[in-house]
Symmetry: C2
Subunit: 221 residues, 2 copies
DNA sequence: CGGAATTTTTAGATTAACCTAAATTTTTAT
DNA sequence: ATAAAAATTTAGGTTAATCTAAAAATTCCG
């Protein structure tokens, strides 16, 4: 397997994201804008990427990412998102502080490193922004997120994001120990006020109000 | 503060290591050999580094690293060694597998990341090879390492390296939970066979034979 | 439809980091 | 001390990734 330079990886990632929005053709200007480069630079790079077989390209008609290209892009995205989980869950960064550091870490080359990191983080499926993490084969969960308060008693779910991202709410969560990746088991629900009794990470139970469970986004397995 | 490119950081690190062996002048060929580049490339880069003030340089007479250069080099070395500790202590890499990955990680730019990592690793003073980790000011422990078996009852020491690095011994250590960075308190020593009772990380006590304590290199605080 | 506007590509430069080959300086050894 | 050997620098070139300016293709719309 050939290797891409940092710059090539960044272009490919941009093209992947721009084409993930349903659209097939990705245009030069869009790539240039996203990467803060000039369209002329994009033209050059696209030619190079198409020679490497990671995109197909007809002059003046935009780019399409190939299957090989998609796989490469997803591998970089996997690394990026796993490092974000590391930064937030282990180094106590806030989810909105981690992007720039992860942009650097995503280019580190070592698949063993990534599989060890994945294991260390306990195989998270979503990053701290709630975006799904591709697995080693490039497949990512397309499970829809649901609101915790809507689930019935007995369901097990994984916390993947918060609706309210204000400091007050996040601070509350900090104190409860609830965080992205926590496994939540719904032990009981109180009819009269909508509060629920949950078990977190098969470890400790707690009671949370409806106001809280309305703001927790989860996926069920 | 100006920033150095990855290549510049690598040159500076090489020059630092080559001049750390007591010698003042570092010669071009030595740098080229260490970095696996050609002497001509080294000449180019040295000119650039001296323009930036991180080395001083008289044509045909070798390089000297400046105080600013030393500080920059030590910062890269600090990052390298902290990442090595992370890889070994947290991701279960073996100490002889981590160099290449740390060579990449050492260039990640974020001092906040490094201070958080340092804290997460509980402020290690030595890397998995037993080399001292510079602190944020570029100062590193020059405490001599001693052999655990030579210390008296009551001493507290930090495990920094092993003399025997064979698989059998390392495997034994794995099972005891002893690892680089462990804090060892000498509770008792048995005269008749030289074995000792130790408390590890103020947590669990165990008995180790003289053969074992002869192979553990520690520093006392 | 056909010109104007927009998008994209090409042409030609620049910078960083390397290289080889040749020139120059220093060191070594007889 | 001086010629040969070794070390170092210079000269000139390459590649990757960028840029600006200009040319070419496509799209939009009156």
């Amino acid at each position: 397997m050939f290797e891409l330079s940092f710059a090539e990886e960044n272009y490919l990632k941009a093209i992947y994201h721009l084409s993930a929005d349903g659209k097939r053709q990705v245009n030069t200007n869009a790539i240039a804008e996203r990467l803060e480069t000039r369209p002329a630079s994009v033209s050059d790079m696209i030619r190079k990427l198409s020679e490497k077989g990671v995109v197909t390209y007809v002059k003046y008609q935009g780019v399409n990412i190939t299957e090989v290209g998609k796989k490469k892009a997803l591998w970089v995205i996997r690394k990026h998102r796993l490092w974000e989980v590391f930064l937030v869950n282990k180094l106590n960064f806030h989810w909105d502080e981690v992007h720039d550091i992860a942009e650097q870490l995503e280019h580190i080359r070592s698949s063993l490193l990534i599989s060890r990191l994945d294991e260390f983080l306990e195989f998270p499926k979503f990053d701290p922004h709630g975006d799904p993490i591709p697995n080693a084969e490039g497949i990512m969960s397309s499970n829809p997120m649901t609101i915790l308060s809507e689930l019935p008693i007995g369901k097990t779910a994984e916390l993947v994001s918060m609706k309210d991202t204000g400091a007050v709410f996040l601070n509350y969560l900090d104190r409860t120990g609830l965080k992205i990746g926590s496994k939540i088991n719904i032990v009981d629900k109180m009819e009269f006020d909508g509060s629920m009794e949950i078990m977190v990470d098969q470890d400790k139970t707690m009671s949370i109000s409806k106001q809280v469970s309305d703001n927790l986004l989860v996926i069920t397995e």
